[in-house]
């Protein structure tokens, strides 16, 4: 209970600070600001006409045509500093190099994009693991030649984009027990925010369990009889990216359960091929759902007769 006043005080104090500090609105990104940041010459007073750029860069201009980038203040020079000089040089017959964003270092690319996109979740990109590993905005996004319906990604779906670097995860999503990522029913961005620097593994929730509860809300409880590792971390038993074992389990029952339960009698017993289907001593602790054949409410039970999670 004592934390509520603390939170309220923090919010009120923060709000008061905002009111006191409310200054001029955030300035729209401008070529001048970008130039100052990069050390380049500031853009010309009149922005370069994209129709002029289209003469040589038809596909790039066509690609930006009906996106929000088409309406930025300094047009092409919002990102491509020196475009005017490049165009003039080309018209003069000089081979003035083009201001390609692709040739910039990752941090400079990110700085370019963040002059406008330094809001919301993108504001947390700086200092995050992607930023620190030299991944820039155009590693995943394309301003001129995107393939996705949303977010201007280089892949048709965000999973395709993520898998260009996270190949091991791609392989896991192909396992027999999987979230419906490969079927297109779930995207990586449902659980992860690739721009985030504040949450471990960039989970879009305060903690991994809270992320799981968004779709598996029946597991939140609390329950009368709790199962401690379930309360603590779903990933102690499940691999959300994919597994060859049923229900995304990291190992197969009963062996998974025996990592923690070696009690007297049946929990600690060895179950081998003799106890499997067709064996000489088939056991319902080894076949089908293993331990869950009896201990159905493994995530927690609300039954008065459920201390062993069997009711």
């Amino acid at each position: 209970m004592s934390r509520i006043p603390l939170l309220v005080a923090a919010l009120v104090g923060g709000g008061l600070a905002l009111v006191v500090a409310s200054s001029e609105p955030r300035a729209l990104a401008s070529g001048e600001a970008l130039a100052a940041a990069s050390g380049e010459a500031p853009p010309a007073a009149e922005p370069v006409n994209p129709e002029d750029c289209r003469t040589c860069h038809e596909p790039a201009v066509a690609g930006i045509q009906h996106t929000a980038h088409a309406g930025v203040a300094q047009r092409c020079e919002s990102c491509h500093l020196g475009a005017a000089a490049h165009m003039q040089g080309q018209m003069d017959g000089k081979d003035t190099p083009g201001p390609s964003v692709r040739k910039l270092k990752a941090k400079d690319v990110t700085a370019t994009c963040l002059t406008c996109h330094d809001t919301g979740r993108q504001a947390h990109f700086t200092g995050g693991v992607h930023d620190r590993r030299g991944v820039s905005c155009i590693s995943c996004h394309s301003v001129h030649a995107f393939k996705s319906d949303r977010a201007q990604l280089k892949g048709a779906r965000d999973a395709d984009t993520c898998f260009t670097c996270h190949q091991a995860i791609r392989a896991k999503t192909l396992r027999t027990s999987h979230h419906p990522v490969r079927e297109g029913r779930l995207d990586c961005a449902v659980c992860h925010d690739p721009h985030d620097s504040t949450h471990p593994k960039m989970i879009t929730a305060e903690y991994v369990n809270e992320k799981c509860y968004e779709c598996h809300t029946e597991k939140r409880g609390p329950f009368l009889w709790e199962h401690a590792p379930v309360r603590e971390n779903c990933m102690l038993c499940h691999d959300p990216h994919g597994s060859n074992h049923d229900k995304l389990l990291v190992s197969k029952q009963p062996y998974l359960c025996q990592r923690c339960h070696l009690n007297t009698r049946h929990p600690g017993s060895l179950y081998d091929s003799r106890n499997a289907v067709g064996g000489t001593s088939v056991s319902n602790r080894a076949i089908e759902h293993g331990c869950k054949n009896c201990h159905q409410n493994v995530h927690g039970s609300n039954s008065p007769s459920g201390p062993y999670l069997g009711r």
């Binding site: 939170l7 060895l270 067709g278 319902n284």
Partner: protein, 779 residues
């Protein structure tokens, strides 16, 4: 079928005049961008993606009104050789006329819209609408997600009302009578052969059940004043989940598992509102949210095929010792619960490319559903009437968990080559649910157990601190890091575990067109003390002798060394070729202090991707990865008392090796006219459980399991496209899929195995081929 055809026709009738409103004809698809050091190789398409549709944009001056879209219809045929649920696990593959995709988008008078329909009127249909103007953005989304667990399971039970599964009284009386007769004649005759012979004819004529559920998800997302200094974001989520979950392990004891489909009738709703303020100094955000889960069913009740009359039984009934038991069992289904949350945060931009981010979140989770009685068994009347809810010490849990989360991040680049980041996260789950003592409980609805139990409200407090410092040496960026994770637990074996990890990472620009990223982490976890009995004793009113192995170290708390390695090299030498190769290793070694438990867990993976696009006429891609997973478990078998004899030990080394391969080609046979897309994907996993026990103890010998979730999936796709004229395209396509699983524990169990009624629903092998012709209109 007829209505689908009408819809398809209507779509095209609608689509025909729309292009007339467009200013100019549609442009051809944009070419592949040139490669760069930071650009990723071209992504590999997947078989599950719908045949690509032309979402062309009309060229014209930037920023003016425009519209575009596409509509696709197909006629499709399907041949699949089994009823395995695996083929349609998360999807619908219709036969006949289908409308895979319709999209319309554009902007008029600064009002932007984007409407999408996928899988129209299919079990996996998806509709999305995005509408936007200067002052708002509205997103509407509806989708159905099937989840099929197994087909054609067989059971004696039939639903008589929601949540109640019954066997006919006649059959129950017949089975009970046969058992009583045999028991009177020769109790030792109550064995698997007898029981199997008794139930087999009825099972053969039993009810067929498909295990599947469906999610129907809707979302409304409204953002007011997006991109402005102040914006408000309101979100509402609604999901109905109905069907039968993969079978419940409902049981009447070790001798009588009765697998049933667990009924699912859930409703989840979430509403939240977040206000955001953007200023030159940074931003602030605050919001509230409420989430509610409703389960229409409080419990599942199912009949005991072997009992028509309640009686007392034993946990092994029916066997040579006992044929008693209840006529029904009842299990509590997930209770209704709700969560309130409030959150706020701020980001401050400071000089020197420095920013500070702070976030606080407070939540309250509650659950207070009425308890079901101890048992359905009316024969349990001593020491209390177990079927009467009035004998319970209390009627509900009054469950409450308070969650407080704090996160503070500082990131700075004070001088250009130097960057550092520090982050502190605190996540506190305070489970202040009142503890409830029960004088005993009913085991398997069979008998009253006099052992008093008390509920245990587990909670924990996680503290994480991460600090990294990096220096940019122009082509090389080097980062050093330290990470701390302290975890306090209540009612567990350990009070506190702490893990310290150091890390080093490097990004090396090998050339302008190539980069290498690598990282290494070394972590070590320890605990303050390990009391093996603490957790077990916490749930007993009067703890007796603990039954778990005192030398077991549970892997979520055991001392552990962690090594993690990642490496990724990517390159694009020239515009035509790009490649990447990766390696990953995760090693967890547990210090069991010469005890038992999970000793080690390893995972490694390596692979490569290649993409070759020599011209706009054709491109090739391919990828391969190999993964190795292994877990090594030390166990010990005990009888009625804890074994201290190492000869009773056994080990389990579970391995799985996975090979994944993909390849494809995109060919412009005749530019802007004929195109051919081919792809193939293959994955094979070989699992193995290598079991061992030293001679001389019990079990004395162990036999490995070789068919251990071995699976193989092969998918081949091909599509030939023909651009008839501007805006019209025909497609002829096919895909073939072959799935196989071999597992000794779950495949081909039969409907009655020793001591178990099993549904044996089919989620196994299948081979399927789909062929389709399609037409796409784009504008």
């Amino acid at each position: 079928m007829r209505s689908t055809l009408r819809f398809a026709v209507a779509t095209f009738v609608l689509a025909v005049p729309l292009p007339a409103l467009a200013q100019t004809p549609a442009a051809s698809p944009s070419p592949k961008p040139a490669a760069s050091p930071s650009a990723a190789p071209a992504p590999a398409p997947t078989a599950e993606l719908a045949p690509s549709h032309a979402t062309s944009t009309a060229p014209g001056p930037l920023g003016e009104d425009f519209q575009g879209g596409s509509a696709e219809a197909t006629v499709q045929g399907l041949d699949v050789d089994t009823v395995s649920s695996k083929f349609l696990e998360y999807r619908d593959v219709p036969t006949g006329v289908a409308v895979p995709n319709v999209r319309a988008f554009g902007e008029k008078d600064r009002f932007r819209y984007d409407l999408l329909a996928e899988g129209v009127r299919q079990a996996d249909e998806h509709y999305r609408g995005l509408l936007g103007h200067e002052g708002f953005r509205l997103g509407l989304d509806f989708r159905r997600i099937p989840h099929r667990f197994g087909n054609e399971g067989r059971t004696l039970l039939a639903p008589t009302s929601e949540g109640v599964l019954e066997v006919s009284d006649t059959l129950q009386r017949a089975f009970q009578g046969a058992l009583e007769q045999q028991f009177a004649k020769d109790p030792n005759g109550i064995n698997f052969t007898f029981l199997s012979g008794l139930v087999a004819p009825s099972l053969a004529a039993g009810n067929v059940v498909d295990l599947a559920l469906e999610r129907q998800r809707s979302r409304v997302d409204l953002e007011l004043l997006p991109g402005r200094d102040f914006s408000l974001h309101v979100n509402y989520f609604h999901e109905r989940r109905t069907g039968d979950r993969a079978a419940a392990g409902t049981s009447f004891g070790f001798g009588n598992v009765v697998e049933t489909p667990e009924p699912v009738h859930y409703l989840t709703q979430d509403v939240s509102a977040v206000g955001s303020l953007e200023r030159k100094w940074g931003s602030a955000r605050a919001g509230l949210g409420y989430n509610r889960f409703d389960d229409r069913l409080q419990s599942e009740t199912w009949d005991n095929p072997f009992r028509a009359v309640d009686s007392l039984g034993s946990s092994s009934s029916p066997n040579s010792s006992s044929i008693g038991g209840p006529t029904q069992g009842r299990m509590a289904l997930p209770p209704d619960n709700e969560a309130f949350r409030g959150f706020g945060g701020a980001t401050f931009r400071l000089p020197g490319h420095t920013r500070i981010m702070a976030d606080l979140s407070l939540a309250r989770w509650r659950q207070n559903d009425t308890f079901i009685p101890y048992s359905t068994n009316t024969a349990i009347t001593s020491p209390l009437n177990a079927s009467n809810p009035a004998t319970l010490p209390t009627s509900s849990l009054d469950g409450r968990i308070g969650v407080f989360s704090q996160s503070y991040t500082l990131t700075s680049r004070p001088r250009l080559p130097l960057q550092f980041t520090a982050r502190y996260r605190d996540y506190d789950v305070n489970n202040d649910t009142p503890r409830i003592s029960f004088p005993g409980y009913v085991q398997f609805d069979e008998t009253w157990q006099t052992t008093g139990r008390i509920s245990v409200p587990y909670g924990y407090h996680s503290r994480r601190f991460d600090a990294t410092g990096a220096y940019d040496f122009d082509r090389l960026n080097l980062e050093l890091g330290y990470h701390y994770n302290g975890f306090d637990r209540t009612f567990r074996e350990t009070g506190k575990t702490t893990e310290n990890t150091v890390s080093v990472a490097a990004n090396l620009r090998l050339a302008e067109w190539s980069s290498l990223r690598g990282s290494y982490e070394r972590g070590s976890r320890g605990f303050d003390h390990y009391d093996f009995a603490h957790s077990e004793e916490a749930s007993f009113v009067s703890p007796g002798t603990p039954t778990n192995q005192p030398i077991l170290r549970r892997y979520d708390q055991a001392a552990r060394d962690l090594d993690r390695v990642t490496a990724l090299v990517q390159g694009s030498p020239g515009d035509k070729f790009s490649f990447s190769a990766f390696y990953r290793l995760d090693n967890e070694d547990y210090d069991l202090e010469s005890g038992l438990g999970l000793s080690s867990a390893h995972y490694s993976a390596l692979g490569a991707d290649l993409d070759y696009t020599p011209s706009t006429r054709w491109s090739l891609f391919g990828y391969y990865s190999h993964e190795n997973g292994e877990g090594f478990l030390l166990g010990r078998q005990s009888g009625s008392s804890i074994s201290v004899n190492s000869a009773d030990d056994w080990t389990s080394r579970i391995t799985d090796k996975t090979d994944t391969f993909g390849a494809g080609a995109n060919l412009q046979l005749v530019p802007d006219r004929w195109a051919l897309n081919l792809s193939a994907r293959y994955q094979n996993t070989d699992g193995f459980n290598d079991l061992f026990s030293p001679p001389g103890g019990s079990p004395d010998v162990a036999f490995p399991i070789s068919d251990f979730d071995d699976t193989r999936l092969v998918t081949l796709t091909g599509e030939l496209r023909y651009a008839v004229s501007h805006g019209w395209r025909l497609a002829l396509g096919t895909w073939w899929e072959d799935y196989r699983i071999r597992d000794s524990q779950t495949q081909n169990t039969g409907n009655y195995a020793p001591s178990s009624f099993l549904l044996n629903a089919n989620d196994g092998d299948y081979k399927a081929i789909v062929a389709y012709v399609g037409v796409t209109r784009s504008w």
